[in-house]
Symmetry: C2
Subunit: 87 residues, 2 copies
DNA sequence: TAGGTATTTAGACAAATATCTAAATACTGT
DNA sequence: ACAGTATTTAGATATTTGTCTAAATACCTA
């Protein structure tokens, strides 16, 4: 969970997540959505990967990124537990 | 949401949240749960307050902290939207 | 109002983070 | 095997963050 919360604590990474919610994208396509250098985006993708928020698969010349929503199930559970009225 | 994600990106602050889930506590009581100086805890509480995760009310000599779960509703919504299958 | 307890503010410092440019790696097609 | 495209790795730098100690503020009680 630590890595997940770290991954979510950045507007760029949250925007990447929202982009990937629409459809899978290559690293280059993701980078085009930002005014940030490709290496920086690559770094953000690395953190998202470490947190298991995204999965990277090479497709020939490209590396395609997609969301792994599994990890959000855990987050949803964490939040729901907090919201439960009875201790 | 930015402040909320920042607030959640720290193990100490997440533990504070879980302590406050059990019952309201004074700043001192919270500090006792950690091997961290009181000023540091005070700083964490400040961030949690900024994120509207906690509410502070002075009760005489003490300042009592309690959770404001409202902000987690928003987070739950954010997570649920991500998990929605369609689009 | 003086002394004690609770908490925060101020200021310093080390570690972590986001960003950049330059270079390295991996693949494609001729 | 070479030239081009896609992406990451390396190394540097400025900013942010978590922590500390010392001092300030706020309240209580005698």
């Amino acid at each position: 969970m630590n890595a997940l919360f770290k991954a979510l604590d950045d507007p760029t990474r949250r925007k990447i997540i929202e982009l990937l919610r629409e459809k899978d994208l290559s690293a280059g396509e993701i980078a085009e959505a930002f005014n940030i250098s490709k290496p920086s985006i690559s770094h953000h993708l690395e953190l998202l990967k470490k947190a298991e928020v995204v999965v990277a698969v090479r497709k020939g010349q490209f590396i395609m990124y997609s969301l792994n929503t599994t990890v959000f199930d855990e987050l949803a559970k964490w939040v729901m537990d907090l919201l439960k009225k009875d201790k």
